[in-house]
Subunit: 426 residues, 2 copies
């Protein structure tokens, strides 16, 4: 047996043990009351507060390696922790404690003609696997959401944040012990071996769902290799369509915000569609604003006839999630062509219409098949906190189980409770 076979064998064994631990503890976790869970969240919060110095020291080691490995400034920014960032993670942890506990919620009983009484009870999924990159605070954010929803979790962070994640996981373990709970409730994979990820994604018997959080490459790799169901978030190619019946000032304000507020989030607009009839009234001013902000505009032929200095858009622009200071602009005949453009090139994430016409609002709302359809509203709002979920473990672009921002309820399932006084079936 060579070294490499030997090593893979160990990882598989290590992961199997971790999966078994999670599965065993999950049925205890499912039975925990709201107060016990909130107490444990407070213990975790305090534990992080107490060990702030230690965490920042470990984060400094990761930052030093990041320097040596020439990580991009954006990645370094995501990796970096300081006191305010840690404090915000701690307050997020306390915030989750204040959220209502979905577990145990029961629907109203419905009496069937047979005499059966049917209810549905909300229960945890069981064991959640989270695979993420760079941002070490996800270790805490994701763990507390899984915990509050009664799920055991297994976390796998990026190797660049290894020391920070280990320090945070130590705090979480200490918090769980302080609360009198098993440390198996929240486990961190303590190896950077990539084989561990594939093991996790294929342990159907122990893992109920995988949530990959990170770049497209990671998510695609997991989706292709997983046998465990995956809550996916693929592209966010978000559109804003300015209809012929739009209020001009509203249109300019919303379309500017949808692109310019932040470029790097999945709800940022990537393509602006403008009805031909209104284009002369909105595009010149809007393009000036984008230009002043330093945004590169790639326009279709019609838009380039209307506004000077646009880069010619090529086919690839309609299918690119720039996540950057670049915007593609297409002038369309009207609503039909806008909907068909979104159907052809969109990613089903978040798409908006700006119009005062209620019929066009309704048509767009019905026919655009995206996880969020927005009316006279900036796409930058696509976020679990803004939707009132209280927290968010990610945004799902899948249609199954959960779609759009995923909060506590997305980490639960339901079971039927069927009661009677000794009913038998004929």
């Amino acid at each position: 047996m060579n070294a490499s076979t030997n090593k893979r064998f160990d990882v598989a064994e290590y992961m199997e043990r971790m999966g078994q631990n999670a599965r065993v503890v999950s049925s205890q976790l499912a039975g925990l009351g709201q107060e016990q869970k909130n107490h444990a969240l407070e213990c975790i919060a305090r534990s992080i507060e107490t060990q702030t110095g230690k965490i920042l020291k470990e984060n400094a080691r990761d930052m030093a390696s990041a320097e040596c490995n020439n990580l991009s400034p954006a990645l370094k920014d995501r990796l970096y922790l300081d006191e305010p960032r840690l404090a915000s993670t701690v307050s997020g942890c306390r915030q989750v404690a204040t959220l209502p506990d979905p577990v145990g919620e029961m629907t109203q009983p419905v009496q069937q003609p047979s005499g059966l009484e049917i209810r549905q009870m909300r229960v945890p999924l069981g064991v959640v696997g989270i695979i993420y990159e760079s941002r070490p605070n996800v270790t805490v954010d994701a763990a507390v959401l899984c915990f509050k929803s009664g799920n055991a979790c297994i976390l796998r962070g990026g190797s660049e944040a290894f020391n920070s994640n280990m320090a945070l996981a130590n705090c979480i373990r200490k918090g769980l012990i302080d609360a009198g709970l098993s440390t198996h409730c929240i486990q961190l994979i303590e190896t950077t071996d990539r084989a561990a990820v594939d093991c996790l994604a294929r342990m159907d018997q122990h893992i109920d769902i995988i949530v990959p959080r990170g770049g497209k490459g990671l998510i695609q790799h997991i989706s292709e290799h997983a046998t465990v169901p995956v809550i996916k978030h693929l592209d966010g190619i978000c559109h804003v369509y300015i209809d012929g019946d739009a209020d001009i000032q509203k249109a300019i304000r919303v379309a500017y915000n949808a692109k310019a507020r932040r470029y790097g989030i999945c709800g940022a607009m990537e393509t602006l569609l403008v009805a031909e009839s209104i284009a002369p009234k909105v595009l010149p001013e809007l393009c000036q604003q984008y230009h002043d902000k330093g945004i590169e505009i790639r326009g279709c032929e019609r838009s380039r006839q209307l506004v000077d200095g646009l880069v010619p858009a090529i086919d690839q622009d309609w299918t690119t999630e720039y996540l950057d200071a670049i915007l593609s602009v297409q002038i369309v005949d009207g609503l039909e062509q806008a909907i068909s453009h979104i159907e052809t090139y969109g990613s089903g994430h978040t798409d908006a219409i700006i119009t005062e016409n209620p019929e066009s609002q309704k048509d767009f709302m019905r026919r655009v098949d995206s996880s969020s359809v927005m009316i006279n509203t900036s796409t930058q709002f696509a976020d679990g906190f803004e939707y009132g979920l209280g927290a968010e473990i990610g945004i799902s672009t899948d249609k199954l189980h959960v779609r759009g921002p995923v909060g506590l309820e997305g980490l639960t399932s339901q079971k039927y409770i069927v009661s009677s006084d000794g009913l038998t079936r004929d």
Copy 2:
């Protein structure tokens, strides 16, 4: 290029075209109103009624092949169609027309502090693939449920029912044409080539979900090979636990019905658990009843000391879904051991407790992690019609998306509708 490569290539092309057709028609289907859909269902029902003779003739051809191929009596019974069976399929089709249409349902708007108004709208999944065996009436049952929930569907029946399925699919096509709709709404795979099933299960770009209906072998094959999400129904190893605080007559009545009413359905009890304290009062009488019905009882040691003539149970009995006139019996110390037996050997399908003790009911209900937990009720009730879903495309033993009997709502998803009067994010 040899003949076999050539053939596979054709199947792939054929399936790709079918998938494309379904995807294109699905957005039209999503926009159909309730009345249009119900009218089409009536056209399909009439079309089947009109062509009853033709369908029965084609079914007779399948029955003749079944005879030649020595199919089991159970399989032949499932394959067989006569006028009453067809009439019941037709009335099922009309019954689905009377069900409320879940598509377009909107949740109450919730106002967020920012001013955003958040709603959720129910939408079809898109394209559903159904893979089934022997029973030709599934061609109609499954098709009309997909259609009513606004989904395009692609059906793949068993080769033994090929002629019956073709005849039924012709009726459906005629019904769709009579209603002025595209025949792509409901398509039947018209080849018995097995490669078609694998193509279907891997066409992520065109198919949103696969529902395999049939034996365990079929479902496992699909689950392992599919990249499209699958609504699975694996084992139905259902338990009835007679608690020490059970009403004796109720216990005997329910436990008898749970096994003896029908053996071959997934909700049939396979293992009876009895608390030691009550066993002498229920087991002898119950075993006599099972014996009179011709049911073989495989008992644990304690039960064999109590009742004469039981076959000794071996380990494998606790994990076997007999679907037959066989029952395994285990005497347990009490509730804890019963729950732990179900946790170890159960399949998460349907499990019942018989007890008058409200605390034991609550404990069992909370801790048994099955799609249906039943209290003083026969497990034979595990069925979408009995739960008031109006119809059922299958029973899901998955925890994701939909759990337990799957009706129209299980074939839909939701999207967020976010409105404001020009809100931008700070």
